[in-house]
């Protein structure tokens, strides 16, 4: 074995950059969060501007919080810890810089497109196709840099934090690619190749696992490195951390369908998702306990160290969230919680408590080290931040839990005569407005804490030395691996020799294969990838291939060109952020909204618009329910027709003209996806103009204003079509679709 020692330096400049970006984007994400929280309590805060409505800003908030705040924190944590755990400088400094600037460019692109209604409408994957491509490129750069660093490492054993980082890099790549397969219909518009049930399934396979592999596994990697560092003691049980890793990787990916209980998703997929969600309890709590017990004998430090305070509360929130997640996946609980603020409270206990507090602990621990100041600028400010943040979270989640349960119970309540106790949806909204105000208070407290952190780190930065010291590190290069795979024979064989077949059995039984994975990064990565892909395919292939999952309904026809354009307005305005299009098969829902939704009704929905929250009522059967004029007045000023409504007004729809020239390319793109558009492939614009004129005349006949060629006409065309096909007579002859199948779910 070589005794040569190599000298090298760590690249902390890239860590400093990512820490700065974390704080900057964190402040933006939380500020937008406070604004949209205020809009729900005070609709006037929508400002009647197209760029500031809740539907457009909410995706900006979620994307900024997940990919800008948490994303930059992850990268800061990975770049700092990986170099030290692998005893190697990052593979290539230029790749590090390309990663940093590329990621910031993506964030800026998101901020410049989402408020303009440029969106795919797929939750947490809203960004349009050119940005998707940029994300793929930057992620590959990150992966090359990361795996290149592993390849030149000087530490044989790959520490468990690195395992979590590997799982993150591999899985996020898979999720991003397969969830973002689209046909472009212009530079800022695309249609998902998936439709309806399949699209919903893919979206929540992605959405759930984005939480798993972007907001959980990298933060667990972070926990397994930075918590021992901050506590100055090894993790309580390294062996438990191994179990934690493999169980999460294997189980998490299966659990996505729990987001779609009682929808048009097949029953078997829903049940599978529930079972695996409940199984997640074990590894998640194993990890939480492992984290907290790492502090055994060091709890006295927690009292005086804000870094450990943030970590302890963060890990505790991890435990709470991962207890609650499986609970919410149980169908009977989910029937109450789904579409309510209960889910929002759950998400924020995880995001603010787990991701936010782990990030703050990380930043406070890193700041004096990367800026070489020995101490953070103000420990007292960090303490104030901790308490502001903690109380802010409690204000937020307690209020929103109460709001969720209240609204869920009101939706399903019947009076003595068997009728809905609260038939007017807005009654269930006004009831929870006080809780929305409490959320604003909690959110402001959390935001102030965030700003204190940014100030504290900025002031720490101002105390930096004139020139950063770059200590020289020395470590021996890896010599020839004399690990388990090179052992002449397994331990069982040593006892007295054995036949070749017995040798192989012993090799397996003694699990030397796993020890090899732990040292051979390529094999390890392949196994992790296999675990993720296998679980995904078990669910995805049947969902896509089994015809009976989505029975065809002959009367369901493609949207007319103007309706398609109107649907795109619905998507651009982010209506799915507040309205579902999925009536579950419960009496309380069919009484309120009408016939429950069938899988076959969504076969032309590229992308699906089922939504995940009902801040307003479900819209699947809105078609024909109200007159055109009702919609005109409602969109101009919702409170004119629904007193106490909290919906924003959309005056710009009465000013903006229908862009007829984009309709044909969009119809063509849909036709490429297999939507049977027939004659519309050649005459979409003419057909759209005819339908627009017809609706214009109908509005005039109802005593309304002349809205010739305005966007509102197209939106009305779409809304009036929604959910009506199932009640129509199927077309005859060539116009008929596939043979009619049973429509019962």
């Amino acid at each position: 074995m070589s005794t040569e020692v190599e000298k090298f330096r760590y690249d902390d400049d890239i860590v400093r950059k990512f820490v700065g970006a974390t704080l900057l984007w964190g402040a933006v994400a939380m500020l937008v969060g406070v604004i949209i929280a205020l809009q729900l309590a005070l609709p006037a805060a929508n400002l009647d501007l197209p760029y500031t409505t809740f539907g457009r800003l909410r995706p900006l908030h979620t994307n900024a919080a997940i990919f800008a705040f948490a994303g930059n924190a992850i990268f800061a944590a990975v770049y700092y810890s990986s170099q030290r755990l692998l005893k190697a400088r990052m593979f290539n400094d230029k790749l590090s810089k390309a990663h940093f600037w590329g990621w910031q460019g993506i964030i800026v692109s998101a901020a410049l497109t989402l408020p303009f209604g440029i969106t795919q409408s797929r939750e947490y994957a809203e960004l349009e196709w050119p940005i998707d491509l940029a994300i793929a490129v930057v992620w590959v750069i990150f992966a090359i840099n990361f795996f290149g660093t592993i390849a030149k490492r000087r530490e044989r054993h790959i520490y468990v934090a690195i395992w979590f980082y590997i799982a993150t890099i591999v899985t996020v790549a898979i999720l991003h690619i397969f969830n973002n397969i689209w046909i472009p219909a212009g530079l800022t518009k695309s249609y998902s190749v998936y439709a309806g049930v399949q699209d919903a399934f893919m979206q929540w396979w992605y959405g759930h696992n984005a939480v798993a592999f972007f907001l959980t596994t990298p933060f667990l990697g972070l926990m397994y490195y930075y918590l021992p560092k901050a506590a100055n003691r090894p993790v309580f049980s390294y062996r438990l951390s191994i179990l934690h890793f493999w169980s999460l990787v294997f189980i998490y990916i299966w659990a996505g369908p729990h987001h779609l209980h009682y929808t048009a998703l097949p029953e078997w997929a829903s049940t599978l998702g529930m079972i695996f969600s409940v199984m997640l309890w074990m590894p998640s709590w194993g990890g939480m306990i492992n984290g907290l017990l790492t502090l055994r004998g060091a709890w006295n430090k927690v009292a005086r160290d804000p870094v450990l305070k943030f970590f302890v509360v963060g890990i505790t929130f991890y435990g709470m969230s991962t207890f609650e997640g499986p609970l919410l996946s149980i169908k009977s609980v989910n029937s109450l919680s789904h579409y309510t603020d209960w889910t929002i409270a759950h998400v924020h206990s995880g995001a603010l408590g787990w991701n936010g507090f782990m990030t703050f602990g990380l930043v406070y621990w890193l700041a004096p080290r990367i800026f070489q100041t020995k101490e953070i600028y103000s420990k007292k400010l960090a303490e104030v931040h901790f308490w502001l943040g903690t109380i802010g979270i409690l204000f937020y989640i307690v209020a929103i839990y109460a709001a969720g349960v209240t609204q869920g119970l009101m939706w399903r309540a019947f009076d003595e005569s068997g009728r809905l106790a609260y038939p007017n949806f807005v009654e269930t909204v006004t009831e929870i407005i006080p809780m929305y105000w409490v959320r604003v208070v909690g959110g402001v407290m959390y935001l102030v804490g965030m700003l204190l952190a940014a100030y504290n780190v900025f002031m720490t930065w101002t105390k930096r030395p004139e020139k950063y010291d770059e200590p020289v590190i020395e470590a021996a290069p890896l010599g020839e691996d004399t690990g388990p795979e090179h052992a002449p024979e397994p331990e069982l064989a040593k006892a007295g020799g054995m036949l070749p077949s017995a040798y192989k059995i012993a090799y397996f039984v003694e699990a030397k294969w796993h020890r090899i994975w732990e040292r051979k990064v390529f094999k390890f990565t392949v196994m992790t990838t296999l675990a993720v892909i296998t679980a995904s395919l078990f669910e995805i292939i049947p969902t896509f291939l089994i015809k009976s999952n989505v029975p065809t309904i002959a009367s369901v026809q493609p949207y007319k060109p103007l309706e398609l354009y109107g649907r795109d307005i619905y998507i651009a305005e982010g209506c799915y952020n507040c309205h579902s299009q999925m009536i579950r098969p419960f009496r309380a829902e069919t009484e309120r909204y009408g016939e429950y939704s069938k899988p076959g009704e969504f076969v032309y929905d590229h992308p699906f618009q089922w939504g995940s929250r009902r801040i307003g009522p479900d819209l699947h059967r809105i078609g024909g329910k109200y007159s055109h004029m009702w919609h005109v007045r409602h969109m101009k000023n919702p409170r004119e027709v629904v007193d106490l409504s909290i919906m924003p007004a959309y005056p710009h729809m009465f000013d903006d003209d229908i862009a007829y020239d984009v309709i044909q390319p969009r119809v063509d793109a849909m036709a490429m996806l297999g939507v049977p558009y027939g004659e519309a492939v050649n005459s979409a614009e003419d057909m759209a103009r005819q339908q627009a004129e017809q609706i214009r005349q109908e509005i005039l006949a109802e005593g309304g204003p002349d809205l010739k060629d305005k966007d509102i006409i197209a939106l009305i065309a779409y809304l009036q079509r929604l959910g009506t096909d199932i009640f129509k007579t199927p077309p005859e002859g060539d116009g008929a679709q596939e043979p009619t199948a049973a429509v019962n779910h």
Partner: protein, 71 residues
């Protein structure tokens, strides 16, 4: 019969059970490997890697002990 027809007759109601069994087998294998008596020392040593990641040739000015750097 097409692929979708074959998949339709594949008896998918057992998927949840099959998934559960696969998980249990892999989980049992990982537990076995991780908690075998012979691996305790090796893995405890691996758990200390984060605490052994800073070996400077020259000490940082004013920072003899990395753990003295506190927040």
């Amino acid at each position: 019969m097409g692929l979708s027809g074959i998949m339709g007759k594949a008896g998918l109601e057992i998927y949840a059970e099959a998934g559960l069994v696969i998980f249990l087998v892999v989980f049992a294998a990982v537990v076995w490997n991780t908690f075998r008596k012979g691996r305790k020392e090796e893995l405890e040593e691996a758990g200390r890697i984060p605490l052994d990641d800073f070996v400077p040739v020259h000490e940082r000015p004013g920072s003899q002990d990395d753990d003295e750097v506190t927040s």
